[in-house]
Each structure stands twice: as structure tokens, then as C-alpha cells.
């Protein structure tokens, strides 16, 4: 059976933020999967930061062999670790530099989604009434829009800019976290210590941000971690369909490139398999971390 962890009641100072943060920081140490996820994230961040050192070649540069011919479709070897595209571009360099765009998309979407979702959830759950009704109707509308088609239509007509993609993803993903956080706030609102705070005259914003918000924090992280993965996959899908930013190097763009240049029929696995694997790794890492925070928030009685 699922049992909610007792929310951390405020200490003498009335500020539960530190204990919550401590519990959240300690989580990966207890959960091996979350720890692996964290490691993967750290790895990719390092690669993104050191991209220029790890792959000093310009990923979009068209390369030529020593004899002056186009270095097209060179198989993986000592010179080009993953080979080259049909236009003579270094696949390994593209993979490494693609990390940057992936993380940028993922992180910005995650920040927007979790911020908006948390704030809406807090406000909606705590104040209730008309505010709640309006916000939840808006959430419903966002949820009834078909996800990928909407992103396609938006980028197809507004322009193939990565920020458009991030915007579209954020617009459609925040309702999920908002709803769950809202229902948690509804429960927390009735707790004894919140009542006590209200009775002693604490202002609404104080109650919200000092007492309730810290207990919601793990949930925000859960949805942030999930949003990273969703955003990366969506960006990859949109790029694959040809609506991505043509000037940026991303894993989705690599897959689109491979597909349209018949890499599949040529069996150039080194071209299209690695980007997919990278996506899987980053998204799975997000799943593991989000599951870890779910445990912090609602431990399941395992009885082991």
C-alpha cells in the first residue's frame, strides 16, 4: 500500500526547507538507480561543457580526404570514430556537440514546466474557488491539445526555432505537475500545523512558501526530471520531421539527416544508433531520478 511520508513539520524556526533539502540531497545515496541517473546527467553535462575539447572539429564542417575527395560515408575508424555522413561531416563531433542542444532544451523546458506547474498547483490548491476553477480549466484545455501535432503546427508556421519548441513543450506539459501538486496542497492545507499557522495570523504567502512549498519540492523535482526527457524526445521528433532548427546540431537533426540520406539502406548503424542511445540514456536517467524523488515523497511500504 502507498503511504504518504509524514510532511516535515516546521522546526522551532518554522522553516522546514532545510530538512527537506537534506532529504532530497541524500536520496541518490540510498537509491542506486537514482544515483546512476545522476551520474549519467553529470556525464552529459561534462561532455556538453567540454564539447570543444572532446571533439575539436566543427560538426557542420564538410570534410575532405587527403586526396581532395569528399570524405563521405567513411566507415568508423581511427580517424573518424563514428565515421562521416554522406556530406562528409564528422558524426562523432555531431554527437558530442549535440549534447549541448539536448541539455539546453531539456533544462529550459524542465525549469519552465516545474516552475509554472508548481506555482499554479500551489495557488490553485491553496486558494481554491474561482482561481482554482479558472486555472484548472486552462489546464484541461492544454491537455486536450494533441501534443506532437500541436508542436509541429506551431513550429511549422511560426518558424523552426528551438525556443519555439521549448515553449510548445512547456505549454503542454505543465498541467500534469500542476494537477498533482494541487491535490497534494489540498491535503496539506488541512494539516494541523498549517491550521495553527493560520490561527496565529500568518499571512497566506507565508504559509504557502514557508510551510507548504518545501513539502512540495520533491514533487516539483519529479516532474522536472520527467520534463527533461519529454522535451528532448519532442525536440528530436520535431527535428526528425524536418521542422527543427537547421543551423543547430542536435541528436534529432542527426537522425533526420541519416534518414533522409538513406543511411538505413546503407546500414550505417554508427550514424543513427548512437544518437538514439544518447537520448535513451538521458531520458532513462530522468526516469530514475524522478522515481527516486517519488520515493522521498511517498515511500511505499516494501516490508523487506
Amino acid at each position: 500500500m502507498v503511504e504518504r511520508a509524514e510532511p516535515i513539520a516546521p522546526a522551532r524556526t518554522g522553516f522546514p526547507l532545510l530538512p527537506v533539502l537534506r532529504r532530497m540531497a541524500a536520496m541518490p545515496l540510498k537509491d542506486p538507480f537514482a544515483f546512476t541517473g545522476l551520474l549519467i546527467y553529470v556525464l552529459f553535462v561534462m561532455v556538453a561543457l567540454l564539447a570543444d575539447q572532446l571533439a575539436p572539429v566543427d560538426p557542420l564542417e564538410i570534410l575532405f580526404t587527403k586526396t581532395g575527395k569528399l570524405a563521405a560515408n567513411v566507415p568508423p575508424g581511427a580517424e573518424f570514430w563514428l565515421g562521416t555522413t554522406n556530406l562528409g561531416r564528422d558524426i562523432y563531433a555531431q554527437l558530442v556537440h549535440g549534447t549541448r542542444s539536448a541539455l539546453a532544451v531539456g533544462l529550459s523546458a524542465a525549469i519552465i514546466v516545474s516552475t509554472v506547474g508548481t506555482v499554479v498547483g500551489l495557488v490553485s490548491g491553496y486558494f481554491g474557488g474561482a482561481v482554482d476553477a479558472v486555472l484548472m480549466r486552462i489546464a484541461d484545455m492544454a491537455l486536450s491539445l494533441p501534443f506532437l501535432p500541436f508542436v509541429i503546427v506551431l513550429t511549422g508556421f511560426l518558424g523552426a526555432d528551438t525556443s519555439n519548441i521549448v515553449l510548445a513543450v512547456a505549454l503542454l506539459l505543465w498541467p500534469n505537475s500542476a494537477r498533482v501538486i494541487r491535490s497534494q496542497v489540498l491535503t496539506l492545507r488541512e494539516r494541523a500545523y498549517v491550521e495553527a499557522a493560520r490561527v496565529t495570523g500568518a499571512s497566506a504567502s507565508r504559509i504557502l512558501f514557508v510551510h507548504i512549498a518545501p513539502n512540495i519540492l520533491p514533487l516539483s523535482f519529479v516532474y522536472a526530471a520527467i520534463a527533461i526527457g519529454w522535451a528532448i524526445i519532442t525536440e528530436a521528433s520535431v527535428s526528425f520531421l524536418g521542422f527543427g532548427d537547421p543551423d543547430s546540431v542536435s541528436w534529432g537533426m542527426m537522425l533526420q539527416d541519416a534518414f533522409s540520406s538513406q543511411a538505413l539502406s546503407r546500414g550505417q548503424y554508427a550514424w543513427f544508433v548512437p544518437p538514439g542511445l544518447c537520448i535513451i540514456l538521458v531520458v532513462v536517467a530522468g526516469f530514475f531520478i524522478s522515481r527516486g524523488y517519488e520515493e522521498v515523497f511517498m515511500p511505499r511500504l516494501r516490508g523487506r
Binding site: 500500500m1 502507498v2 538507480f33 484541461d140 484545455m141 491537455l143 486536450s144 491539445l145 494533441p146 501534443f147 506532437l148 501535432p149 500541436f150 509541429i152 503546427v153 511549422g156 508556421f157 526527457g229 524526445i233 528530436a236 521528433s237 526528425f240 520531421l241 524536418g242 521542422f243 534529432g252 537522425l255 541519416a258 534518414f259 538505413l264 539502406s265 546500414g267 548503424y269 543513427f272 544508433v273 544518437p275 538514439g276 537520448i279 535513451i280 540514456l281 531520458v283 532513462v284 530522468g286 526516469f287 530514475f288 523487506r304
Partner: protein
Amino acid sequence: MKLILERFVHNAVALLAVITILFFMFRLMPGTPLAAFINENLNADQQQAMLEQFGLDKPMWQQYFIYLGNLLQGEFGLSFFQRRSVTTILLEVLPNSLILTLTSLIIAYIFGVLAGAWLAWKRGSWIERAAVPAVLATRAAPEFWIGMVLLALLSFNAGWFPSGGASSPGLAYANNWQRIASWDYVHHLALPVLTLALYLQGLPLLLMRSNMLEVMHEEFVTMARMKGFSEWRIVIQHAARNALLPVVTAFALGVGLSMGGNVVIETVFSWPGIGRLLVQAVSVHDYPLAQGAFLMIALVLALMNFVADLLYMVLDPRVSHGRKG
């Protein structure tokens, strides 16, 4: 019942919101406001017809209601590049999308439910501990990438399956039903369905497993043990029957969600469905066709949300039979 009506209204309002958003989005596209329905590709007669049908010379708010009226009659306008009714085009490709979606979901859910229940039974074993991350990995992979890999391996490399489309060139059929039932169609359907099923099975599997684990701790399962029932009866008749409820509603929701998500699968396999149509229409800025395709997908989504609500009401006695006590 009042509940049914309430859910119907709720979903209808959501759909209306989508339609409205779409209406304004397309009006704000670059170009004249007429650009949503008229293009120089259409001949003069067609342009005039569109002008009248959608009241493009009238004020915005009037256009909105005319638009709604047209939608109710199934009129989406004319495709700029195919120069024929969008509705006709949509209905031609809709069966392909439906067959792809339904076949994949049915396979994915049957597998997922059985595997999920089995994994729940194998709680604590190494199989379970290895299987859960593996399943998460299938949910982490982009659908189209799975498709690409399968395409490369099983079609281009091994030659077992065709590499795209819904039928081989040069084949003729008496009617649509014969075409769909033909071996050639199924042969073309195989890889897309395999890809989609592989991607989709993760949800029912994890859901069923997690439901089973919860249900097995319920008091009525313990009571069933005390009554001396066989493990089989407890797991299937009692535990699974309860655990299945959310999975069935998830299936209905999955149909709606898949119609939108299939966009990429249909592109990888050149499967002539609504998703691929949408992508093509957007690329060439064929606004009426793009609108129509988008709305059709949104309609299926809203419809399936409603069906999911209905299913939940029908299958859970706690909802369909109110308290009398």
C-alpha cells in the same frame, strides 16, 4: 445518467476550446487573413466558393460561427495542392491510421498486461529487478528511432519486410476492404505495428505491475487466501480483475494519444495516415489540409477521453452503483 452528460459536456467544451485556439492560430499566420482558406493554386471558381462558404469577407466573430457550422457538417475547405475537398482526403487516410493505432495498442496491451502481472508475481526476483529498467528504456527511446533501427535490420538488411508505404506498387483491389485484408497490406503493416507496439507496451506493463502489487496487499486478497482459494483463482479472478480497471481506461486514452503521436511512425514508414498527411501539409503550408488533419486528431483525442470516462463508470461498480447503504 447525469454523470455521463457531465463528462460529455466536459469533453465537448475541451474540444471546442481546441477548435477555437486553432481558428485564431491559423488566422494569425503570415499572409492575409484569407490565406487560411484561399491560395493562388486554387482556380477562380474554387476561390470564390471558399470565400462564400467560410464567409471570408465578413467580420472575424461572424467567420468564427460560420467556421463552427462548417465543421459540424464536416466541411474543412479545399486542399491548396490537391485541389479537392479536405474531408475526402482525410477520410481516405483515416482507416490506415486507425488500423495502425488499434492493432499496435491491442498487441501492446495484451503483452503488457500479461507481462506486468507476471512480473508482479515474480516480485523480488532478479528478473523483476532487471526487467523494470529495461522496460523504462523502451519508454525512453524515441518511437521513430526504434522504427529506424528495425527498418534497417529487418527490412533493408534482412529483407523480411517492405521498407515503407501501405501497399506494393502495381497492385489493384476491388474495394477498400479487400485491400486492407490482403496479405500485402498486412506485410506492410507489420513493421510499423511492431515498432509502435514495442514502444507502447511499457505503459500497460508498468501500470499492471504496479496495480497488481497494490491490489495483492488489499484486505480482500488476504481474505481470499484465508478462504483457502487456489492461488490461481486469487490472482486472476480477484487481483487481476481489480488491477485491470485502470489499464482499460488507459487503453482508451492511449488510442487518443497515439493518433497524435503516430505522426513520426507514419513518417518513418511512409505510412499513409493522418499523421503523415499533417506533416506534409504543414511543410508546404497547405493550411486547410493541415487544419483538417489537426482537428481530426483532436476529435479522436476528445472522443477517446470521453470513452475512457464512460469505461471507468461502467467497469467500476463503485461508480456505476451509487451508495444505497
